[in-house]
Structure formats: C-alpha cells, structure tokens
Symmetry: C2
DNA sequence: GCATATATCTGACTTTAGTCAGATATCGTC
DNA sequence: GACGATATCTGACTAAAGTCAGATATATGC
C-alpha cells in the first residue's frame, strides 16, 4: 500500500510527535529544557564539563550559563579537575540528586505506561531495539573487555542460544571446545564487545594459543543489529588486536548453517582450509595470514 | 541485559537525536522551523487555519504571524471560508507548491538514504510500521469504505495471504464463500477500514443478507498493529453499523487456527453455535444478538 | 436588532536558545 | 619565565518561539 519511503516517513511523523510529548513532559518541573538536559547528563555520570558540552552539542557560553543556573538553584557544584585546573568537574548536590531522580521517575513512568498499553510487548521491544541500533550505528563503540564481564557473558549467552536454535542437532557448550577466558585476555588474546548506548549488541573473541596460530571465536551480532556492517567491524578489530599481539596466522571454525558468517569470512580475505580440530559442531574451517 | 523500561528509554534516546537531525535539515531553506511546518501542513492538504493550528499545537497569535510571513514570501494566500467568513482557508501559490516540493524532496531523500544504509530493509521497515502504529494508536481512525477501494483491497489481500500462511491446508479465496461487495455496502451492510496516518492497518466487513441474520466477515488486523485493541474497536464499529441498519442477529465463522480471533469473540459477548454454512475453511461458528 | 460566542488578527511582551568576541586562568613546552 | 594552546567564563547581542490582552469581523440564538 505504502512504498518504502512513505513507510519511513510515516515512522518519522509518529516518532516526531511522540518525542515532542516526551520533551514537554520535562518542562513540568519549572526548568527550561536546556538546563534539564544538563542536569540529566550530570546525573547519568558525565562529570567533565567539556564532555557534557560535546554530548549535548552546546556552545561553551550557553553551557556555562546553564551550569550557573543549576548552581544558583543549589543543584550542583563545580570543582577543578585534579590533573588540569582549567577543566571543571560538575557534581550534583543532594538536592540535585533528588531533582535528577524526579526526572528519572518521569522517564521511567512514561516508558512503563507505554509498555502497559500494549500486549505485544516482546515484539514491540524487539522492534525498538532494532531501530535504536540502526539509528545509533555511528554511536556503536567497540570495547575490549574481560570475557567474564557481565556484558561479555550476556553476549555469549545470546550466542549459545542462537546456535541452539539454528543447529539442527542443537548446541551444548560443554560439548564444544569452550575457550579458557584467560586465552581471550591480553597478552594472550582479546575479547571485544560492541556497545550501543548501554546495550551490548555484538562480540568477538581472539583466542591465543601455544601453537603457531590464534583463533577467532564467538563472533556474534544481535539480531537487532544485523545489516549494519557490525560483523565486519568486529572482525577488523579482532585482526587489529591480533597484529598488536604479534600474531601472524588466524584460524576459525564455523558451521555452514550460519550462512552470513561464511559469506563475511570469504569476502574479507579468509580462505577455506581442511578441518584443524575435533570440535563436533563446526563443518567449515578458515585461515587468514596477517 | 537491559530491562524493558531501559530498552524503551534507549529507543527514546536514539530517536530523540535522530529527530533533532531531521528538524535541522528543514532549516536549510532559510526559513524558521515554525514557518516550514505550517507550509508543510498546508501542502499536505490541511487548508483550514484552525485545523492547522490544532494540528501543530500553535497559539492563534503565533499561527497568524507565521501565515503572514508565508504570505509575504508569496508562498500562500488566504481566502474566507464559503460557509463561515470568520474562518480562513489557506492555499499554496505556484511558488508555494514549488517550495513545498523542495521540502518533500528533502524528506524523501533522507528516508531513502536511511534505507540505503541498511541491508536488513524489510525487517527495519516492519519494525518501523509496528512502532508507528503503536505510537499512533490514538490517531487511528475507522472509516467506512467501499470494499472495492484500494485501501480495502489492500487489507483483503493481506488477510488472504495470512490465512494461506496459517491454515495447514492453505487458503484459496475462490473455494471460500466470498461475499459480494454489494452486500458489504449500505444499505445492506458495511465495510470498515482502520487507517493509521495513511496506512490501512485493519478491516472488518458486515455482510447483510436476505435471511434473518447478517454476518461479520474479513476481520483483519495488520501484524504491526496487534496488541493495540484494534480488533475490538473494529468489531464494536461493525456492531454499531449493524444496529444502525436494524440488524438484530449477527453470525460469523472462523477457524480454530486463528486463536486470537476466537478469544476476542468469546470475550465480547459472542456464543458458539453449530455450523451454519458449508464453507470448507471455518470450523468454529458464533452468534451474537444485538 | 441585540447580546453573546467564535475565528482570526495585531501589538506588546517574555523566555529560551543560540552566537560571538574577548577576558581569565591554567597547561605544556621551550 | 615566556609563549602559544586550551578550558571556561562573561557580556552583548540576535532569532525564534511562545504568551496574553484586546481589536475586528462574522455567526448564532433570542
């Protein structure tokens, strides 16, 4: 009925008016939106004044005045940065924290009300994740993390669940060659998580070993973040880490049921090689010389 | 990893910054956003000044000044309303139409660029439809339409396609008792389409007949609009139309594969009755006395 | 015809956001 | 310690949005 462009524009219209309502709800506490945004940025852990300025895209003059108005209200204080006295650190006072919590409560209530009005909650949330990841693509950052961190374990859990869904015979980690966490931490290897505004949406592991090659393991991209080129970015980051660690040969194993993965490897300079391990799950093996 | 409320808020953040970018793109034509919004509202067919004011949520003084500024630019003219000379009708001049088209081109280009940057297009569009329908629920309007209109035929096509997917034996309209369009037009019956900002997202038919009962047919709600209570609204509208037409007994047939539909009927006062026709597809039959 | 309601317009005003030039203090480096 | 770079602040300004009290013209009901 509607062509694609019209559908995107219908979405834009729906969301524009919703965002307008969201903004005006923040006006209920008798403070202009600019000041409220600064207060919230500080409350969410941004303390460096320059960082807040960049994040909110404010002019330095305007920023300074907004900080002054929050200080006059007794909601925050600034102190000099320990290492560099030119930089200022913003910190909420007790009153500021109360006020920040009030804004948080408004946001949480709105989100809750929105969900409460719909019975199709999981579908709606999945759609929201998908769009948030697509819109936030430029903001997706890759972080080297410990594979035992909460973020990494969340990714691995999702990864195993997906393998279990996609392999005809299911998937049981215990039967697979599960890499030791230490092999995926520097200086032996690395583990990289893609974070999109607080949500982990992808990961990859670089497993160092005592033999002549290292392995790429656990490449996963959240369903809500596919089609954004994130798999390629993760692989590039893993290769970069491998080069930094002086690794010359990379190998990986995968399964032909994961067609996108195979395509990605072939398109980015990997060549198929014969089986090099006895893991029961993979049926495709690749190598890349750096 | 993130709880539901946090996921909704992540979506809100992603979308807020995207909408900001969308707004600033409209500034490129040297006109403040307010004036551009009014120009676009007129271009999209809103001619009544009061209507535009309500739609954009503007103060009457501000609205008046924005109209004046567009008039000074030679982009529009106002005339008195035929029936009520207090009301004013806004109309774009040739120059105004050109300017409106330029804004349309900006919006279309942005939508196209957005799609071009993603390979997962259908998933993304489905997510956008879902969210636009959810956000636009209050704006969803039910319209009585001819079952042969484009909107109705689109809905029926989607409905048949869904039956074909959900019935084990598939679905072929020709084998089913396809109601005559004339039986679903006043004064015999009615056909109602739910429109959400230009997109048909649901329908229901009321089929009058010469026997002692009328039938509810073709109740359909787009997958992107489920969980919003739209099925209930459509059924209520169909019952209202039936009462207006002096119909006392309603019947319908359905299939137990369509569990949501059966639930809806049971919860809204319908009682199961024995088979009353020889259509091969249904296996559940209901009646409701008005 | 007259009072009252309604739709729009005008003028005077405020608030918010944003811009820009320059002041002030501090940092890093030679 | 001088010098240029950097981070923040201050003052002076503008543009845009929004508010509010009337003015004007027209409609509606008695």
């Amino acid at each position: 009925m509607l062509d694609r462009v019209s559908r995107v524009r219908r979405f834009n219209r729906a969301v524009t008016s919703a965002v307008g309502a969201l903004d005006t709800s923040f006006l209920g506490r008798g403070r202009p939106l600019g000041a409220a945004r600064v207060l919230n940025a500080i409350g969410h852990g941004r303390t460096d004044v320059g960082d807040i300025r960049d994040y909110l895209g404010l002019d330095s003059g305007l920023m300074s005045r907004l900080l002054r108005s929050l200080e006059d209200e007794g909601l925050m204080e600034t102190t000099a940065h320990g290492d560099d006295a030119r930089r200022r650190i913003a910190k909420l006072t007790a009153a500021g924290k109360r006020e920040f919590n009030a804004y948080e409560a408004i946001s949480n209530r709105q989100a809750k009300d929105f969900l409460a009005h719909h019975t199709q909650r999981e579908a709606l949330l999945a759609a929201m994740d998908l769009i948030a990841s697509a819109l936030g693509r430029d903001g997706t950052a890759l972080h080297e993390m410990d594979p035992r961190s909460d973020e990494a374990r969340y990714c691995l859990g999702e990864y195993y669940a997906e393998l279990a869904r996609r392999f005809k015979q299911g998937f049981d980690v215990k039967l697979s060659r599960d890499p030791d966490a230490k092999d995926m931490v520097r200086p032996r290897g690395s583990f990289i998580v893609a974070m999109s505004d607080g949500l982990p949406i992808g990961c990859v592991g670089l497993k160092g070993s005592s033999c002549e090659f290292a392995e790429i393991k656990r490449l996963w991209v959240a369903p809500s973040a596919r089609g954004l080129g994130l798999g390629r970015r993760l692989m590039d980051a893993a290769e970069k880490a491998a080069r930094e660690l002086g690794i010359a040969v990379l190998r990986l194993d995968t399964n032909s049921a994961l067609a996108e993965a195979g395509q990605l490897y072939r398109r980015s300079g990997w060549t198929e090689i014969p089986r090099f391990n006895d893991d029961p799950y993979p049926d495709l093996f690749f190598e890349k010389r750096l």
